[in-house]
């Protein structure tokens, strides 16, 4: 057993020595920041309610025409600055001088369909923001007009928080962060295995008093240790950004399971092809296939991590056990066939 640990130490050492692990962490920090930029910057655009609430964008709205409609009040409720203009010419001037960002032309008659005109600046980015901010008060006015028409709209008082960012964060960003180390582990396993084969150091290693399976197990174990350390660090970093992962133990356990599964698969590929180039290529395509197939599972790995991390009451350890079966199966196959695979000629 102590030989096994020496082997693991050897693998871990080679990882830290080349400072590659530092790179790995930088890459993931990149990935995380990149995603969070998208979350904050862009998802708010998908959520008109959150752009009004989360960002303090001051929009000055000018109104021409019927200035006493309920719309003026709704705009005020949303903290928009409303300026009333007596005629279109003054409004136009104010718009060109930049005193107001947008102008609403509201028809004076209030019966039947209300056909308004909205004046927006040419600049795409600004127009988008203004439109997003205006959507909520306009919807309120629309509901009001429906009520005038005798249509009752239910559930208008249900508020809650806009869930887009929350869902995006937990169902996409957190699973990506948690599963990325597992993907990396597969790459690492391919590298260490094919490096030993291509540099012919494996033969030397095999003459030492360790079994071939021990060598492979040590390589896989080392990669999985790295998965665990990275995932744990991620959860701590997320905590600093006040994103809390519920069921932490289960989430980490699941990531380690996925990491082990992928590492077994990667090692099999590397043993079959015996060179890095083809192994990495086949590995990346195999990953696409596995990811696609895993989506058909219920819950899929992404979904399972998301539900565990949000603390869903109906998700728990029993979901993990389902994943244990393919993992053990692959492990057994791997250890039975490893000798055969390495002695066989590479696929040509």
């Amino acid at each position: 057993m102590s030989r096994f640990f020496i082997m693991i130490k050897r693998e871990l050492k080679s990882l830290t020595k080349e400072k590659t692990i530092v790179l790995a962490i930088i890459i993931q920090l990149f990935l995380a920041s990149f995603s969070s930029v998208i979350v904050v910057g862009l998802m708010s655009f998908c959520d008109p309610a959150s752009i009004g609430q989360n960002t303090r964008i001051a929009v000055d709205v000018g109104i021409v025409g019927d200035t006493h409609s309920r719309l003026t009040g709704f705009l005020g409720e949303r903290n928009l600055r409303v300026t009333v203009f007596a005629d279109a010419a003054t409004a136009e001037k104010a718009f060109y001088y930049g005193h107001v960002d947008t102008v609403l032309l509201v028809p004076k008659s209030n019966t039947g369909v209300v056909n308004m005109k909205l004046i927006l600046p040419e600049l795409d980015s600004k127009a988008t923001v203004i439109l997003m901010v205006l959507q909520e008060p306009l919807k309120m006015y629309e509901t009001y007009l429906r009520e005038m028409n005798g249509i009752e709209v239910n559930y208008t008082n249900l508020q809650g928080k806009p869930p887009t960012t929350y869902e995006f964060l937990y169902s996409l960003i957190v699973p990506i962060l948690m599963l990325f180390p597992a993907l990396l582990a597969g790459s690492i396993v391919i590298d260490t295995v094919s490096e030993e084969i291509e540099n012919k150091t494996l033969d030397t290693l095999r003459s030492a008093p360790v079994s071939f399976n021990e060598i492979l197990a040590a390589k896989i174990f080392a990669a999985v240790v790295v998965v665990f350390v990275q995932c744990f660090t991620w959860t701590m970093l997320l905590r600093l950004n006040s994103v809390y992962i519920q069921n932490l133990g289960l989430v980490l356990l699941f990531c380690v399971m996925i990491g082990t599964f992928i590492s077994f698969g990667a090692a099999i590929i590397a043993l079959c092809f015996k060179d890095r180039e083809r192994s990495q290529f086949v590995y990346s395509i195999a990953l696409i296939i596995t990811t696609g197939l895993s989506y058909l599972l219920n819950p899929s790995p992404f979904n399972l991590i998301a539900r565990l991390a949000t603390g869903d009451h109906y998700t728990g350890i029993h979901h993990l056990t389902v994943y244990l079966i393919p993992l053990m199966l692959l492990g057994v196959i791997f250890f039975i066939w490893s000798e055969k695979l390495i002695s066989a000629k590479s696929i040509n």
Partner: protein, 586 residues
Amino acid sequence: MKSILVISKREVTRLRSRFRGKSRIVVLAVVVLSVVISYMVSQQGFVLSKDFYAVGVSPDSGVTADERFNVITLDPVDGRMMLDEESIDIYLGGDRTEYRSDQRSQYAAGALRQYLEKRELIRIANEYDIDKAFPLRIEVNHLKAPEGDVGTGALVSLWDVMEYAETSTAPATMPEATVTSNTVVMQQLDKFRGDSRLPEFKAEFASDKEIIIPSLMSPPIPLAQVIIAFCYVVPIFFVSIFFTSSFMEEKINRKLNILLSTPVTPFQIIMGKMLPYIVYSVIITIVITLLLKGNVLLALAIFIPITLFILSIYLTVALLYRTFKDQTFFSLLAVSVITVYLIYPSMFSGVSDLSSISPLNLAVQMYKGETFGLAEYFLATTPMYLVFSLSMLVGVRVFNEEYLMGFRPLYSKLGEAIYLAIDKNHLHLSVFFLSILVIPVVFMVQLASIVIAFNLPMPFALLALLVIAVIVEEVAKSAGIAVLLQKGVIKSLKDVLILSFIAALGFFLGEKLLLYIAMSVISESMFTAAIFGTGLLVFPLIAHFVFTSIVCLMTARFGVKLYPVAILTGSVVHALYNLYVIGVIP
């Protein structure tokens, strides 16, 4: 040219030999399988947040058919109890909803609100007249600010038309505006009914004269950009495995020695190895553009620089890595850098002007049917060409056996690369051009630092950005001189000062040139302003010179070992200067 083709042919043969016989069948099967599965999954519809919220509903409130909800039918008493126990997130009983004040329950309420709003809209649309159900229609008009002082009268005439339409129509008939907007409502309603939760991708939010219905309006999401990026860039990423491996194989099999002893130049070798992949990328670009029905020539003009850029980044990877694991991590780093540089800014296409630095933005505009000017084209593509020339230049210079096979720390490998890149007979010219060529790299690092700094709260983010920007610039300007000092090529303080000035001048000119192009495209961006510093001309040049000479003189005096300290000192002075210019320090 002939030797390049010979080497290209050799590369293609090498690649072919990798996939022969049985392995070709295996790989083909795997690729076909991946395509089939991707198609199958895409047919399934894509819901990420499946069973995200536990929603309790009373038997009479109708089925809540939304993938996000795990629906449990409960009577009100049980519902309230389970809500308190936190085993459901929200309870919907008839027209009433109950939820807690904690985060999860609040978000569940928000999600249920989205769902119920939609359900209500469809109910109303089915039960009532379209005029009554959707009583508010808004026509969007984009108005351009006029050149002079006076308005164009466009707004006034819009208003006049509107008022005329209102007063002139007899009350019995429907106004013309309502007739046209009715058809629009029908169209939007059809889309609304049919859609999944994913909004359609629309490059522009509301175009001119478009009629919007507040409750049916869906916001733009940058899906188009992501899809364009995926279609074009991902196939090029795949190539990288083979391109970088090609060099690794030569290293392991010691074939490089043989190759280098033949009368081919390093440039021919690199170009020859790159050519098949460039051809492949061009074919991919043409095929995808034809599939998406774009303009092939325009697409090539946009994507050839991108291809060259990506391949040149991978060339650097191929030249720098030492082990297999290096190769994996460097490649991953390269993918992230490229993604951040290309995809991140283009996400903001139509939202922020920062997007103009990404050439993908040009592609987005192309597919939107918008035109872009030459200045925009050059702003986006010049950095691509510069990075390509830089890595080709360095690649050709370092392409010798000793450098490629040597195993030493990364910084020393980088230093050696800079040393080899400098032409010792034309020191001044080399330092000058190195300074210019390195600017896009500096820019990329700074852009990446914006992304990372985004994690910090606002004042710290700006500060971190300032510090990183300054350090990167100082390293960029002084690295060449430091290497020359280390190798003992320059010794006298006078030489150090002259070279410092030249490095500062090169950097300054390149920066201002980029700024000049950028100014004509980008109008407002706080971050670009922070990075580029401020506009004045002579003073910044002197300042650049001062900072660089501080770094270089310190390195000359105390040795290269203390180079980091010298960089730090120069950066502190630089940062203080920047703070002064921005006006933080009076």
